[in-house]
């Protein structure tokens, strides 16, 4: 057995459960999308109407895709492909970082590279592992669509497009691992790039050229600088074009080639950007568990706030870009109720609603990370000296939850500032600029749920905290944000906190759902705080 094969099998074994979850999620979501769309938007006429309204109010295209006609298969591709590609991208960046930078950071790469595996077999095994996973993802996606009754040839194109986008982000993740000395940094930057790719194609799709019948669009240039945009350009089912797949494949290969060139001249464990040397002395404010939580999370909070600010800034610029296509169409409301139960009227309000929904997810993720940090601290053994010191367990947990709350508020504040500034700068006249503050506050209850629930998991079942935290967020996003446009059953959609996010319109805000969620968050948090006193803090 060669070292490459041994290391490949080791990666496969290490990831077996994660990979199964990713693949079933992506393939299952493809199947679910077809089934839900076939049920909710059953005939061409309904779908044509949806498309015409979408192209008339392109803000909502940010969270969907590029309209290519009302047939069930192309409509499904339009609705769900970008999200599937986003998932495939995240799967690949995490996979790339986990088997390269994280191994070097932990020092395990050292002991492996000192064997006949050398410096190259670990990289080769990682690429092989991810490529196999991407082929399986492609097959699962294609099978999901085919099982839903879509055209097999087009489904294969759609599946391969998902896998190819995944491969591009494998390269991105590997490259990020060359630059950053920590897996946290490499994961942060590469998953942010996946988000950027998603939003870029959203921008390009929303500002594209509409065909006279209002059912087909040609994307603007921003979609062409996004790997997810390239995947859309295959026009699965309507065009079945293969050549756009060469773009993500070429990007993945090019990144890998750069990685090889960089690795050929660096030491095991080194990185292009050297880790900054730390401070010799702690800042005066670093005393106690809240300030420790802040010190540990400051980098992540800054990153998420930049994400919120960018999303906010997108509001005004995108609003200005699609200003020309604004039509005050009363029917919009009915269709958009699927996405947000709004009585929205203006184009800009829809845009604000859609982008703030994205920002709300970012804020929830930022808060979630503060809670997950508790578990990481515990597993690394660094929690013990803190809790063994003057800090009680309840205060320790409370500090991280408090910091989580602060970071959620900060992310939404940055989003609102970005949105307000860009709307004012773009000369928006709809009065939406004044509403962004309220809309930002509207996102808080759902995000706070993502502090309370993982905290409860952390207290009851520590080892499950991290996977459960991300899984809860992922499910919440799928059901709450995509559930509406897929036409999922309301009772299922009601399981997601994001479904209950209050919506601000010109006529006011209905905060009943918001208050319910706040109540749940407070009660669950209180229970977690009370229960943590009965639990040991260890590394198990």
């Amino acid at each position: 057995m060669g070292a490459l094969w041994i290391l490949y099998r080791q990666r496969l074994r290490r990831d077996r459960w994660q990979i199964i979850v990713w693949i079933l999620s992506i393939g299952g979501l493809a199947l679910l999308a077809v089934a839900a769309i076939a049920k909710s938007f059953g005939d061409d006429a309904t779908r044509a109407q949806v498309l015409q309204l979408a192209t008339a109010a392109p803000a909502i295209l940010v969270l969907r895709g590029l309209p290519r006609g009302p047939a069930l298969d192309s409509f499904t591709f339009f609705e769900i492909f970008a999200f599937l590609a986003l998932l495939a991208g995240l799967m690949n960046t995490f996979m790339a970082v986990r088997h390269t930078r994280a191994e070097e950071e932990s020092g395990r790469a050292e002991i492996v590279s000192a064997t006949a595996a050398g410096r190259w077999a670990p990289l080769g095994a990682t690429v092989l592992h991810a490529m196999v996973a991407n082929v399986v993802v492609a097959m699962a996606t294609a099978l999901g669509f085919i099982a839903g009754g879509l055209d097999p040839a087009g489904s294969l194109v759609a599946g391969l497009a998902t896998g190819a986008v995944g491969f591009a982000f494998l390269g991105v993740g590997l490259l990020a691992s060359e630059f950053f000395s920590t897996s946290r940094g490499a994961n942060g930057i590469s998953s942010a790039l996946v988000m950027v790719a998603y939003l870029l194609r959203g921008f390009g799709d929303a500002t594209g050229q509409v065909s006279p019948d209002g059912m087909t669009m040609t994307a603007a240039w921003p979609s062409w600088v996004s790997p997810i945009g390239w995947g859309q350009q295959t026009f699965a089912y309507t065009g079945n074009r293969w050549w756009p797949l060469l773009l993500p494949l070429a990007l993945g290969a090019a990144c890998t080639a750069v990685v090889v060139a960089l690795m050929a001249r660096r030491d095991v464990g080194a990185s292009v950007l050297a880790g900054r040397s730390g401070r010799a002395n702690a800042r005066p404010w670093l005393r106690g568990s809240f300030s420790l939580a802040l010190r540990l999370q400051e980098g992540a909070i800054i990153g998420w706030c930049i994400g919120g600010l960018a999303t906010g800034l997108l509001t005004g610029s995108l609003g200005a870009a699609i200003q020309s296509s604004i039509t005050s169409n009363p029917q919009i409301t009915a269709v958009l109720r699927g996405m947000i139960e709004a009585q929205g009227t203006s184009m800009t309000q829809l845009l604000v609603a859609a982008l703030f929904e994205v920002a709300g997810i970012l804020a929830a993720a930022c808060g979630l990370q503060a809670v997950l940090r508790l578990r990481q601290e515990e597993a690394a053994g660094t929690a013990e000296p803190v809790v063994a010191g003057s800090v009680g367990r309840m205060r320790w947990l409370g500090s991280f939850l408090g910091l989580g709350t602060v970071s959620v508020v900060l992310v939404m504040a940055f989003t609102a500032v970005g949105a307000w500034a860009s709307l004012v700068a773009s000369g928006d006249t709809s009065g939406s600029a004044g509403e962004v503050w309220q809309t930002a506050v509207d996102q808080l209850p759902a995000a706070l749920i993502y502090l309370a629930l993982p905290a409860a998991v952390f207290v009851v079942w520590p080892r499950a905290t991290i996977p459960a935290g991300w899984a809860l967020l992922g499910i919440g996003v799928v059901l709450g944000v995509y559930g509406g446009m897929l036409g999922l059953d309301q009772r299922i959609r009601d399981l997601s906190p994001f479904t209950h996010t209050p919506v601000t319109t010109s006529t006011g805000t209905d905060w009943s759902g918001g208050f319910w969620m706040l109540g749940i968050a407070v009660v669950v948090t209180a229970l977690a705080l009370a229960a943590v006193r009965r639990r040991e803090v260890g590394t198990a």
């Binding site: 050292e110 064997t115 030491d267």
Partner: protein, 327 residues
């Protein structure tokens, strides 16, 4: 004599830090070579370059006649190593980690001889291979690295502070295993350490590294010549004048009711009869420490002001410091 490892004018810079600053190291076939130096001297950096895990900034290194950076894979088939800092996979048991690392070194490990040898080493080091990595202490992680290095024979062993975290019993077991390997297979060992006594037990020759260069080297006998063993006993109104007059005895002092002196390490036995005649109580003989060696031979101001023989107890400390200030 075959040269197994040779470095010539090896430099390694990390930014502005000169980790290696013109290191010339030579290790011959079949010897146990001690690589001795204080923390931060550049031992780990040197061993990483010899393994092709790091690349020198300038100078050359050759291991078993190969260039370690370019021929790493081929080299590693013939080399076993222990890293300075061992970390393992949290979800693999120790036994699994040993198997994985052994397979990576030499694909064909699934035969009875390997299993037997692994079992033998696990017993020898009192190691439970079934526990998962998460539950391992520093000592147990070190044992995984030790067993992985020893379980398959190699021509060359590059061991970076291999006994750190082990208790004395395990250290002794390790020493026996290394001796056996060298005796039976004619293997070569390069062993880094910052503890003089550890190297002394095993090594035929030593190289002493300090601030990235070799400052001394040679056989152990030559080294013993350089070092002093610290001897102390309870004062108990023992007359120390005869002792102080011996040429093997240096720096005799009385501190906190104990008489202390340094004796040339290769001549300690010549002092013992007199100690017996004096009937001293609470005798302690401490092995020479690297710090002491450095202080006397390579240190700057501190080394030049070795305290004089003094019967007046604590006062010499002050004099010593005053002399250092004046120097």
């Amino acid at each position: 004599m075959d040269t197994v490892i040779q470095t010539v004018d090896l430099h390694k810079n990390f930014g502005r830090v000169k980790a290696l600053d013109g290191l010339d190291l030579e290790v011959h076939k079949g010897e146990i070579h001690g690589f001795l130096g204080p923390n931060g001297a550049g031992k780990t950096t040197t061993l990483r370059i010899l393994l092709g895990l790091a690349r020198q900034s300038s100078g050359s290194a050759s291991v078993l006649g190969m260039n370690p950076w370019a021929d790493a894979v081929e080299l590693h088939r013939r080399v076993a190593s222990i890293p300075g800092d061992v970390s393992l996979w949290p979800n693999l048991s120790g036994g699994e980690a040993i198997d994985l690392l052994s397979r990576l070194r030499d694909g064909a490990v699934d035969h009875a001889a390997y299993k037997e040898r692994k079992h033998h080493l696990c017993e020898l080091f009192d190691f439970d291979p079934g526990k998962k990595g998460r539950a391992y202490s520093k000592g147990n992680r070190q044992k995984v690295a030790l067993i992985s290095a020893l379980v398959i024979d190699a021509e060359l062993y590059l061991l970076d502070e291999p006994t750190s975290g082990l208790d004395p019993l395990m250290e002794a077991a390790f020493t026996r295993e290394i001796r056996r390997i060298v005796r039976e297979n004619g293997a070569t060992v390069l062993l880094s350490s910052h503890i003089l006594s550890e190297v002394e037990q095993l090594a035929d020759r030593v190289s002493i590294i300090r601030a990235g260069r070799i400052v001394d080297g040679g056989t152990l006998d030559a080294l013993r010549h350089l070092t002093r063993t610290e001897v102390s006993f309870a004062q108990d109104s023992v007359d120390t004048h005869a002792l102080a007059a011996l040429s093997q005895v240096h720096d005799l002092t009385v501190v906190e009711g104990r008489v202390k002196f340094g004796a040339d390490s290769d001549r300690v036995h010549e002092v013992l009869p007199l100690l017996g005649t004096l009937g001293v109580k609470g005798l302690l003989v401490a092995p020479p420490s690297l710090e002491e060696l450095f202080l006397r031979h390579y240190g700057d101001t501190v080394a030049q002001t070795v305290p004089q023989i003094a019967d007046d107890g604590g006062t010499h400390h002050r004099r010593h410091r005053a002399a250092a200030a004046g120097a």
